[in-house]
Structure formats: C-alpha cells, structure tokens
Point group: D2
Chain length 359, copies 4
C-alpha cells in the first residue's frame, strides 16, 4: 500500500486511530516559505470535533508538533514532519466487536487485504482521524499558495445535507465574494436560512441513532490560469484522486458535473469573451477547467459524502471469525454527519493539489 501522494509537493501520511500517533511528512516544499504555526493549528481545529451535539464526543486535541523542515519560522526546503500524539484513546471499546464487520466500513476489506493483521481499533489507518494529517499538509500547502499565488483564495460550501439542497446556483461573481455569502464559517452555506433545517436534519439522524450525508462544493477563486495538463495530469485527474482518498467520498464532479449531461453542447460550452482586456468565460459549466487545464475562472467541484457508516442503531452483519450471520450495535463515538468535519479536509485536498502544480 502507499499513503504517499504528489509529484512535486509530496505528502506521506501515517498513523492509526488508536495507535501512538498520526502525522504526515510533507516533502518538496520550497525553502523560505513563512509558516504561521497558529494558522496551521487553526486548520486542524476546524476539522476537529465540534462539540457534543453534532460530532463525536471524543476530545481530540489534535495538537500538531512539527519535528523538521522549519527553521526560524520558515521552511528550509527539506521535509516537514508533523506529528499528533494520540490521546484519549479507548482501545477496549473495539476489542469485543473486532470480528463483527461494521457495515459500510473497511473492516471486512481490510481483513482481506491485510490478512487480519490490521489495527482494527477504530478503523486503524482507515479512520477519518487520519484526515487530520491531511489537513496539516493542506495548511502547509496554503502557506505555499500564499507566496506563489497570493491572490488565490480557497473556499467551500455545503450544498446539501441529505435532501435539504441549497437551491442557490452561484454565478462566477458569487464565488468572487464567497466570504460575504458565508455568514457562519463553521457552517458554510450560501443560503443562510438553510443552516437551521440542515442542523435539524443532522440532529434528527443523531436522535434516531442514524446518520446523514451530503454534498460539499469546493472552489478556488482568482485561479492561476494554465495549471494542469491533458490526460493523467489533468486537474480533474489529480484532484479527484485526492478527494476520493477522503473517507466517505463516493462522487466527485467538476463544474456543472452530472447536470452537464442534460445540456446541449451549445449550452454547455462556456463562451469566451474579452472583458477589460482579459479573457473570461460567460458561464462556468466546466468548472474553470478546459482540457484538464485551468482557464482562470473559479475552479469549482462537488464532492458527495455518504452518511457516516458508524451508527448506533442495531444492524445485521457477520462474524468473520465464526462465519455466521449476527447483529452489531456500534458503541463508542461517532459523527451523525461527516459533512461538518469534511469541508476543511476538502479544502486541504484542493490546497495540496494546487501546491503540487505550482511548486
């Protein structure tokens, strides 16, 4: 297996949910980039548990310690290792159910793949907890972008929670002022009035010992034009590979995505225009990407996150040791909706992808 990614800005992830620690080595970062440790920690805090109502009660701390690659507050050009020591683990929670394959989880496939030697506690390396080091790498990537493309901004919004779908169809101009549209950065929805119903849907799922999913849209404005390549190094290819590595992601689309299939070519083609001596497009159905390469319009993509597979409700399943049908009731901590913690991860993936193209 390989938890390494990147052609230029390279990330090597490690760690298990209930092991000694998790972390990442980020390699290929240019020398001399200022790293604001508070900004890095802030990104990790955005991803961390959101309180008892809506996310796992485990208090995750997620204090990152950087072991290398920084000197006098700037990158040295050599690998940057960040480590989070795991605390507050409750390994015992998982032992008694280790042979019960949690539906929707990797327990069964990990057993096949690793011959039963995987760390089964809390999903081990498959845990969404390992997205914390990804967010760390994303924070380093953001610092790189700040130097190399200072005008570029990264954002994300919640498009839907279950069937509560934001009807807003943002235009190019809307993305440019996304910071104004998002009133609550901890619940980034363009149509502000949807925050409460969306939260209610999550709470209802929690009350029912169930879970819900949703759609996140990520975007970058003031994009550097001319990034990417045709075929395997297209922005779509590179970014989707990163996005699908986020646990629970089952769909990725760019621009108008699947809805593009409903249009004629004459509608789907984004018309080029000269405006103020700049090349722009009138619409952005292609999400700012033509032929795999950025055209300078907002880079826009959507990510479908399935409902958290860990639910409190009793479920049918199998005991892999006895090869018998049985039931499972998952104890322990889990989020009723992964969307609330995933948007900083989606942004991190975008930052990493863009940094990989820019360094």
């Amino acid at each position: 297996m390989s938890s390494m990614w990147g052609n230029n800005f390279k990330v090597s992830l490690f760690g298990e949910s209930h092991g000694q620690g998790i972390g990442a080595v980020v390699d290929g970062v240019p020398a001399g980039i200022p790293i604001d440790l508070e900004a890095v920690q802030h990104e990790l805090n955005r991803r961390a548990a959101k309180g008892k109502d809506l996310a796992t009660p485990r208090k995750e701390g997620d204090q990152i310690k950087i072991l290398s690659g920084l000197f006098n507050g700037r990158t040295t050009g050599t690998p940057i290792a960040g480590v989070i020591i795991n605390e507050n683990t409750r390994s015992k929670d998982y032992e008694k159910t280790k042979d019960l394959m949690r539906p929707g989880h990797a327990d069964y496939t990990a057993s096949l793949r690793y011959g039963g030697f995987q760390d089964y506690r809390g999903g081990g390396h498959f845990s969404a907890r390992v997205t914390a080091p990804l967010v760390f790498a994303g924070a380093v990537a953001r610092a790189v972008l700040k130097e190399r493309a200072p005008q570029l901004k990264i954002g994300s919004r919640i498009v839907s929670i279950k069937d509560i779908n934001d009807p807003c169809k943002p235009q190019i101009a809307d993305y440019q002022q996304f910071k104004n549209l998002i009133k609550n950065p901890e619940f980034p929805v363009f149509t502000e009035s949807l925050e409460l119903p969306m939260l209610a849907a999550i709470k209802a799922a929690k009350a029912a010992e169930d879970s819900v999913g949703g759609i996140i849209e990520g975007f970058a404005i003031n994009m550097v034009a001319g990034l990417g390549d045709p075929f395997f190094e297209s922005i779509e290819s590179r970014l989707s590979a990163l996005l699908f590595s986020i646990p629970a992601v089952k769909g990725v689309s760019f621009g108008s995505g699947f809805d593009l299939t409903l249009k004629n070519g004459s509608e789907a083609n984004d018309i080029f225009r000269i405006e103020e001596k700049q090349v722009v497009t009138q619409t952005n159905h292609n999400g700012g990407i033509n032929g795999g390469i950025s055209n300078g319009m907002p880079l826009v993509f959507q990510v479908a996150l399935k409902p958290t597979p860990s639910i409190g409700k009793e479920q049918q399943t199998i005991n892999l040791a006895t090869m018998e049908n049985t039931t499972i009731k998952i104890e322990g901590r889990h989020d009723p909706c992964v969307v609330l913690r995933a948007f900083p991860v989606v942004e991190a993936a975008l930052a990493i992808c863009l940094a990989d193209f820019l360094v």
Copy 2:
C-alpha cells in the same frame, strides 16, 4: 506534463490528432501473457468511427502495429509499444481558425500552458483520438486480467443520453448476467426499448448542428476481493484519475454515488451476509468498494460525459491573436455524441486500473 500513468502496469501515451502517429508504451506487463492481436484490434475498432450518421465521417483505420514486447504471441516482460500511423488527416481544416478559441475545448488553456507551441490541429494531444492508444493499453490489460483473474468480466452500459435516462436500477444479480441484458453490444443499454429514442436524440442534435452528452456506467463482475488500499491508492482514487483523463468526463461516482447523500446511514450501509459460505452484501450502494478496497461485489461506477464541444452551430468566441470578440463556425468532422465512442474507453480505463492492482 506527463502522459504516463501506473504503479505497476504503466502506460505512456503519445501523439497528436494530426501528427505522424499516436500510440502507447505499456510497461510492467508480466512475461508469458498470450496477446490475441485480433482481440486487440477489435477493441480499437469498437472505439473507432461508427459510420456517417452518428459519428465523425473521418475513416480512422486505427490499425495498431506492435513494435516490441511480443515474441511468439506472448508478452516478453519488457515494454510493449503500439503505434497507429495517422492517415486521412486534413490539417488545412484547422489553420485558418487557429486563433479562434473553440468554446469548451482546450485551445485557450493549451495556449496558456504551452505558450502557443502546441499542435493546434484537431486539438493535438488533447484530441479524443488519443484515447485510441488508451484502448490499446486496455486491450493489453484485458489479456493480463484473463490470465490473472479469468472469471472477472468487464462491461459498461449507457445510463442516459441527455435527458433520456434508463430507469433500470440494476441489482447485484443483474450485473452478473449483463451480457444477456445487453442486446446490441454497439449500443449497450439495459432497457432495450431506449435505444431508438436515445439514437433519435443524438440525430436531433446532429441535425441542429449541436451535440449531446450522457452517462456511462462501467462495471466489473466476479471481482477479485481485497484489491486497493486506503487513501491515495484506493480503487476510487486510482480509477477516477484514469477516468477523468478521458476527454469530456466531468463527473465520476461509485455505487449509488451522489444519490447516496439522500439516504440515511442505515440504508446506505450494505449489510454483510454469509451466503453459501461466502461473504456477500445484500445491496451494493458502495459499488463493491469499502475503505478503498474491493469487497468482491460488482465494482460499479458512473461517468458523466459532457456534450461534445465541437458543434457546427455558430458560436461566440474570441480571437486570441487580436484579442477581439468574434464568432466561430467549426468546420470539419465531429461526433454529435461522445458517449457512443466512449464506452470502450471507459472499459479500457477499468481494465488498466485493475491490471495495475493485479500485477
């Protein structure tokens, strides 16, 4: 840029639409695999032009010539180079419009990326024509799969053409007998009665000098369980990177994809059961993948293809040399719907991805 892909089964694409030739080097193929040259050519023929009514009138031949890596009908273990010499090119068609940026195409972004040095004739390396070598590589991959996983079968179906959507929601058992469901392999739709209306939609687009897109579903049955890894080497990450390298693909999803966001966790989780001493799932919302690793159920994914950007209709655009707004009317040959040629390419991508995991 890099038109190379693969960790183990590696593909290196080359060629431009109107250059001397196109092809691929396939590296990492084990020695001793029988290669049926007719079967390889058959895959290329499936992708090639479909006749004057529905696809580009250019007669593409696409005769593959293998220069290396085969000896006495079997792979040698060393790189396999396949070359298609371009014939019937009409470069002149493109010269007069080279400064007019075709909407929805890579003309503008290629100019940014390659400083105007790209081969602009017919899209150059960005042309869908370069999927022919990808299909060649896929045919080699199929030969590998035939040896390494003889029971595994790869297929695809048309889910939609524009708004004509196949209402069929296939169950696990349906995929197992997909060859019976598809009556016309050149138009693989599960609900047979939709072939005519779908064709009519394409013809209507053609008549209007416009184009349409659609959704293709790819799948593999009798899957090898335990392939893939968490994070960057998940099946989703690896396969999506390949699929998004196919021109016109703007969305990729696995299993129930974006629809999974509408379900509760208790519905979305595919329940494990023991049946005839085998582990199976009752549903397949996760498309045969848990935690990035195959669980043995059919591997199922959907691909959104935008309408062909080349249309005969006059469109607004810019002249990049003069930086003026203008219009373009694309002469030459083009397909009114890319779906009909894309499904063999989607299957090739799947075969390549699986071969990369299996060798």
Copy 3:
C-alpha cells in the same frame, strides 16, 4: 527536493541534525511481518557513536519510537513511522561560523539551493545523522527479508582505511562463511591482523586534527535469483541510487568493478556451470548480477567513502556573507573516519533495495 525512495518498499526521510527530531516513514511493508524492536534498536546502536577515541563525543541515544504501522508486534500493512527525538544538541556551536563555508561540506551548495533558508546547524538535513532513520528503515527491511527470503544474509567488510588495503580477494566460498571470517563485528575486516593498523591510521588522523576515508564492501549471500530488470530498474541502478545518497560516498562498483576494465572478456565473463543440479558461476567478477538481474551468486559491491570533511585543522575558505577569503577552524564534534559508522548504513541500503524488489 525529495527524500523519498522506493517503488514498493518506500522510505520517506525527514529531520535535521539539530532540529526537534529525525525519522522515517516506511510505506509498502506487507502486513503480518514480526518486528523485533530490540533488533531494530540494535541496528541503530551499531550506527551510533562508538566512544570518545574514534568517533564523535556526542552521545546520540538514537532511541527510536515507532508511532504507527505496528500492532501486537507485527506490521499492519499501513505506514510505519519511526521518530528519534534529538537530544544533546548544541546549536550555539554553529551560529558564529554560519557564514563560513566548510570545505567539502554542503554549506555552500545548500545556500545556493535553498536560498539561505536551510538549517545550517550541524549540516541540517545534510547531516550524516539523518542516516539513523535510514538504518531504521533498513531494520524494517531486514524483517521483511527474514520472512520473504529467510536464507538470505547481509554483510559488509572494511576493504581499506586510507592506504591500508585488505589484500584478501574473497572467493564465492569465502562470502558464504563471512561470519566466521569476521572476528570483531564492530570492525569487520576479513584479514583480522589489519584491525590494529587500520585503527592506528584513524587515530593518527585524529591526532593530526585530520580525517581518513576508506572502502566498504557490502554483500548478500544465498541471494534470491531473478531480482531486478534491465535498464533503470537494474539492481545496479537501484542500489547505487541508495548508496550514493549516503553522505561521503563518491564511488560505487559491483563485482570486480573498476578492475574489470583490466581484464579480457574471456576472463571477465563468469563461466556458468551445473553443480549439484544447480546453476552456478565459477567466478563472480560481475558481483552476482547479469543484465541488471541477480543470478543467485553473492551480490557484491564496493563503496568509496571520502575522508570526513569536518576536520579540526585550520582550513582556508570563504565568508559567504562578506564574499571574502578567510579561514575556518571547525570546533565541535566530528568523526575522524566515517567508515566505522557507515557499514551499518551500507547494509541498511542493501536491505532496503532488496526489500523493494521482493515485496
């Protein structure tokens, strides 16, 4: 830059001599391999400082802490991160001389490459200290080899210290019993009587505030035959890349190496023979490798290590800040001969290379 290596068994190094910590992530290790933590620490201890007479007085501890990838004493199949927290650093030693470019060191080239942002203390990431994580990775590789090729043994010997050259020309049979030939594992020389004169040469260099280099031979016996490939994946290509990444290595040769150029083809060709129904060669001038692939004979290579560039003697040099000629007298700690610490590193490189081919 990239401190990552490997196609299958992948190593990602990090750390600076006087930073917070050094370490490595090892990715691609199969699941279920038993890891003996004492054996791992033993390899690190072999590399660590040898006492005040012959090596740097810095007491390096080098206690490795494994953060991930192990569970119940076995590998999980997911990345193994090992960290050594730096202690006993004396950063102040380096501040006053930071603009003086130490001859033979990377101070000047690092300034060019990293724009002056590198951690200059003790050579930063360029420090030989970063070979400790390489030895950690090598220890994991040895555990893999023990499972995959239990008969294979790795060893090394000192061929020369400065001009004191071991006249022994070992034959194939000698390598097979190398553990008998090496009387003192901390000073592995085949001609035992050379230990004292070699040590005397090192002590003489130390007394003169100077340093000496030497040649180490690495080898593997009971080799797995059929490893490697022609061209870029030859054993020679892969292993030399690893060996040249060890600081101070300036030459690598296989088998009879440069001396092969003095022979005729009829002498240099190792004659194949059938002995006891096995294919063997009578001589081993090619070091067990034909066409980049192992032939089952002992894999033998030599590594030239230049004298440690850090010496106490005053040297001419430049001040890069003032761009003036000046002199430097390097204070602090340094080894009079890198050979004594390098042979465990050479063995680690060999183990990593073989594990990369075998997993």
Copy 4:
C-alpha cells in the same frame, strides 16, 4: 519491470534487438524548444556502428522517426515519440544457441526473470542496441539544455582501454578547454598519443576473438550551480542510476572517486576561494558536487565498462534446457570494445539527468 526514468524529463524506452523496432517516448519536455533533427540524428550516428575493423559489422542505420510532440520544428510540450525500425536483423543466428547461456550476458538471468518468454534474439531488450533510443532522448535533452543553460557543455573522454591508462590528471582549467584537447572526436582522448596504442589493444583483442573494456570520463562544464538535493535526489544518486542502466557499466565514481579514499580530509576537501567575485574551488576532488548539489565547478564522473561479453572464442557454459555443461562459440556480430560506442551514451545519460533537474 520498468524502462521508465525521470521525475520531470521522463524517458520510456522500448524495443528488442531483433524485434520490429526500438524507440523512446520523452515526456515532460517544455514547449517551444527548437529541435534540430540533424543534430538528433548526428548523436545517433555517433553511437552507431563504426566500421568493420572495430565495431560490429551490422549496418544499423538507426534512422530515427519522430511521431509526435514536434510541430513546426519546436516541441509542443506533449510527449515526443521517436522510433527506429529494425532492419538487417538476422534472427536465425540466435535460434540454434538459444539454450546456451552466453557467459557475462543476461541470457540466464532473463530466463529466470521472464520465465523463458523473453525475446532471446541478440539479447532482446537487454541489447546494447536499446541504448540508441537513450541517445535519442539524450539529444532531446541537449536541446533543452541549450535553451535553459546555453553556456553548459557536455563532453567525455576515454580514460583507459584495458591497461592503457591516460596519465593526464586534468585540472579545472583543462576541462574548460576540452574541445581543444580532444583532437579526434571519434576517439576522444586527452593525451593524443594514446589513440594508436589504445586502438592497437582493441585490434589485438579482436584478433584473439576476445574483447576489452575501459573507463570513460563524462563531464559538464560551465555547470549550473545549485542543482540536486541531498539523499535520493543527489546528482550522484540520479546520475548513477542512469549510468548503471547502460549495459556493461560496473562502476561509477564522482570526482577523484575511489582515489579519494587515499587522501586525508585536509587534501580531499576542495578549498573555496573568491575569484573575480565568484565562488570557486581550487581543486575538484568532489567532481563539482557537495552534498549532492552542484557547486558550479565542472561536474566530473568516471564509468567503468567491462569487456564486451560477446566474444568469438569458445567458452564453457551450460545448456539450460538439458541442464548440462557444454561449450559455446558465439557467432554473429559483436564489438571488441564497447567503449568506442559507449561515450555518446554516457553523454546522453548526463544530458538526460541534467535536463531532469532543469525542467
């Protein structure tokens, strides 16, 4: 196996000695680089057969045909495929001896590695003939260097043929004027008077149906300073991996190489000086590389080439089919000394390595 190399400037080799064709795909070349097709062919001609006296009588033509990646005489930024169609092959020569393992060749190891499916004719993919595409890639790399570092020059010289060793120990100034020192570019030796004795040694070997090897020195002057990185991306690591992929290379060293082990640190350290406001070193024992990174002095390395393993003399060997000892007398064509054809290949490897660092 993988005949692909490169992080940025990527080369994918293919072909067998007696297959349909050989070639390379070069990926990652920036757009807009002028390619002089005559200069490319000239490099191939330098490598090709040198006439009946000293090299194989096979007339190899080696006419390169470029299929892609060029447009109007310049690179497009997309992959450049070059193909040489094999002519004048005499496959029958090899059939009768296919079970006889030629000593010093890859016949036996290829049988192990590829299970007997390798193309055994003339060594197949292991043939030195496959260095022709490497020289093609090198010619493209030279074109890149000409744009990116126009002052940089690449050269090579013959240091020894068998025991005839050029006593010249060139100083930094000598390399700067190497074109003056080399009187006969087809036999590049600094001490001109050695050409005849060296040729005599080769002819003597040929007369005796034997072969000889030698040492080639490659170098680059007016080097770009600051290229490379510590550890796995050091110039030494990257370049040695390329050099060892050239058939017959068994040793690689940088600067004074193995002789550095005979010096004290105070001699081996190249003293830095300011001269005419430039940083220079007084000596160049480190071959222009400190800590893996170029320091601007001439990059100098030596390559040991063993005697051509193909010799006319009868040799003992085995029949792998019958597992019996026997003898072989190699018919067909072969070079009495690989050095005469290898120096353009060594230069190509250097050009490729430098282009990979520079793009």
